[in-house]
């Protein structure tokens, strides 16, 4: 069983402070949905409101079309996985997993059977008699998932459960979480500040900032067609060129910035609509570092400009080249490690290019990082 979750104009306030403001979203049955945002953006508050640990001060939460107002966390068809997992340290792994059955009065044999089934589901067969502290971080993660699944929830809520793991394990657990979700087929609502996690696992992502939803969409949609400067800079890396509109031709916009004249596409507003600009509007043009190429690379590009070289940074699979236009406008370009860049530090000017299809123009607004 799986249920959809609908938030209708949900606000959660603490005194005068709104941790979540007027959030509306419909999460589909069986969907892997992520709330992505910086710490303090209100995503955990929303999750607690969905799980029933706090009540929204305004608006409605529907799970499976049923209003959840006044229903406590123990009576909602949801199960929450805590950031620190909150496994019970004094109980064995099997007792942890079967705790929800124990408090419902299920017999011992039945409990053990269910625990073993769930251990198999999370690939921990035969570990039921161990104590929690005898398990590794990744194994504990899986015990927490098994424990949450034991009550057969219709919606699983996950509060940054991977944040305590190291990088390799985190990447492995992403795939695993996604597989478990497909196997059990229930709705997963995932909270994270890590855009990599959100992009790799989710069907859809809601980007939040300061208690409000900035954008809801598929991973591709959020990454490629950011609706606000915040989304453009919070999800992935981006170069932001401040400029003014010099000409508009349909969806294509000419932006003059720092003496250059760039061609770029107008940003998406969702539902097939685009932002409309007129001459002299103040705008920001966003181009991702991986969409900017060195001039001698074999890529299509209709924008060509030059920038002064500043530094190069080796990241393993790719190299980040830092440059600036007239010492003011910073430009960052990421190229594959295979690209030869040995001459770059010697040349004062670097010729760069990008395609107008990869550049997005948005009205001026706050960025995620300054």
């Amino acid at each position: 069983m799986s249920a959809d979750v609908e938030l209708q104009n949900v606000s959660v306030s603490f005194g005068n402070f709104y941790a979540a403001k007027n959030v509306s979203v419909k999460i589909e049955k069986g969907e892997f949905f992520s709330f992505l945002g910086p710490s303090g953006c209100g995503k955990t508050t929303l999750l607690r409101a969905i799980s029933g640990f706090s009540e929204p001060s305004d608006g409605k939460i529907l799970i499976g079309n049923q209003d959840m107002a006044g229903i406590g966390p123990n009576n909602r068809p949801t199960s929450l996985i805590f950031q620190n997992l909150a496994l019970f340290p004094l109980m064995s792994v099997a007792d942890n997993i079967a705790f929800s059955l124990e408090v419902r009065g299920t017999g011992k044999v039945q409990r053990r059977k269910r625990a073993d089934e769930l251990l198999e589901l999370v690939a921990l067969s035969g570990q039921g008699d161990k104590k929690v502290h005898e398990l590794s971080g990744g194994q504990r993660q899986r015990v927490a998932i098994a424990r949450a699944l034991a009550i057969e929830p219709e919606v699983l809520l996950l509060d940054e459960p991977l944040s305590a793991l190291d990088l390799k394990l985190r990447q492995k657990m992403r795939t695993e979480l996604r597989e478990i979700q497909k196997r059990v087929g229930i709705t997963f609502i995932y909270i994270t500040h890590d855009q990599g996690e959100a992009l790799t696992m989710s069907d859809r992502i809601a980007v939040m900032n300061q208690g409000e939803l900035e954008q809801i969409g598929s991973c591709h949609n959020v990454y490629e067609s950011p609706r606000t400067p915040f989304v453009a800079t919070f999800v992935g890396e981006n170069n932001s060129f401040y400029g003014t509109v010099s000409a508009v031709d349909g969806d294509m916009v000419n932006v003059s910035a720092d003496g250059n004249n760039f061609l770029a596409k107008a940003g998406d507003l969702g539902e097939g609509k685009k932002y409309t600009f007129k001459k002299d509007d103040k705008v920001i043009m966003f181009v991702r570092p991986e969409s900017i190429f060195l001039k001698d690379q074999n890529n299509q590009a209709d924008n060509i400009f030059t920038a002064g070289f500043k530094a190069i940074e080796f990241e393993g699979n790719l190299k980040n080249i830092y440059m600036s236009i007239d010492g003011k406008q910073n430009v960052r370009c990421s190229v594959s490690n295979a690209v030869d860049t040995t001459d770059l530090p010697n040349s004062k000017k670097v010729e760069l290019k990008f395609s107008s299809r990869d550049a997005v123009v948005l009205p001026v607004g706050p960025l995620a990082v300054d």
Partner: protein, 303 residues
């Protein structure tokens, strides 16, 4: 030892060794050994001490069990009865104390906001600035035949004549419960404070009722604190003197009152020593037995 000196420097190391050594040897071991030794000696005038009559004897222990040699009873039912009642009531008081303090400690540790918690702790401590004897007398005034409680009940018309709380030992039990309440609350509070709040929420999310969460999560976590609080309250209640002297009914004797009588009124120090050795050793054995039954290790208690 060498590591200890290197780590703390000669001055602090010497101070620590002397201070702890003094405490252990002069304030605990020597007096208690003296007391044990005294309990096996006959009660003879000072002049005869060290003389031919001063030999080790079990007479005082015999007296505790079987009474004076002239009595026809099969055992000393007065003293043994007082001893038994004292221990039973001390156990009862400990359990009541635990039931009473558990919710308070839990509220302070896990429910109250930090400011409320501080306020509650302060208001628990401040009454204990008042001397134990004075607190007992204050309770006596409250519970007296013409006391505050009776007056209120009479005025409200709930009773027709005053209730003799003292004779019913209500005053004594209340006083004993109140006397060591902090020694129960603080170990409980310390133990519960370390419990991760998420554990409680996780249990709730998994469908556990409040009661079940306490039995499965909170009590196992706080077990060492519970044991520590119960041990202290039991030992101190069994050994209390001031409160029973002030609050007990004329018919109720606390075992410490007997000890006090042998020491002071009957001037029989060896017998008093024997009685206190009996009280101490039986209490310690009882506590160790309880710890064994509830699987608490002594190391956990001091944690």
């Amino acid at each position: 030892m060498k590591y200890f000196f290197n780590k703390n420097g000669p001055l602090i190391s010497t101070y620590l060794i002397i201070a702890i050594g003094f405490w252990l040897v002069f304030l605990i071991i020597i007096p208690q050994l003296y007391m044990v030794d005294l309990s096996f000696r006959p009660n003879i005038p000072p002049l005869l001490r060290g003389g031919p009559d001063d030999v080790y004897t079990l007479t005082h222990y015999k007296h505790f069990l079987f009474g004076s040699e002239t009595s026809g009873e099969s055992y000393n039912y007065v003293d043994v009865g007082v001893f038994r009642d004292t221990l039973l009531i001390a156990v009862l008081i400990t359990l009541i104390n635990l039931c009473f303090c558990y919710p308070i400690a839990f509220y302070i540790a896990k429910v109250a906001s930090p400011n409320t918690a501080r306020l509650l702790i302060v208001s628990l401590i401040i009454p204990f600035w008042i001397n134990e004897l004075l607190r007992s007398f204050a309770l006596r005034i409250l519970f007296a035949g013409e006391g505050f409680i009776n007056n209120v009940l009479l005025k409200l018309g709930l009773i027709d004549s005053g209730i003799n709380f003292i004779a019913m030992d209500v005053a004594l039990y209340t006083g004993l419960n109140y006397a060591y309440i902090l020694l129960m609350i603080f170990p409980l509070y310390n133990a519960m404070d370390t419990l991760d709040r998420n554990q409680l929420e996780a249990a709730e999310d998994l469908g556990s009722s409040m009661l079940k969460t306490h039995f499965r999560i909170v009590i196992p976590h706080a077990k060492a604190g519970i044991a520590s609080g119960c041990t202290m309250v039991f030992m101190l209640t069994a050994g209390a003197l001031a409160t029973p002297v002030v609050l007990s009914s004329p018919n109720t004797f606390w075992f410490t009152q007997l000890i006090y009588q042998w020491f002071n009124m009957n001037d029989n120090w060896p017998r008093g020593a024997a009685y206190s050795v009996v009280l101490l050793s039986v209490s310690v054995v009882f506590v160790l037995l309880m710890m064994k039954i509830f699987k608490v290790k002594i190391g956990e208690i001091v944690r």
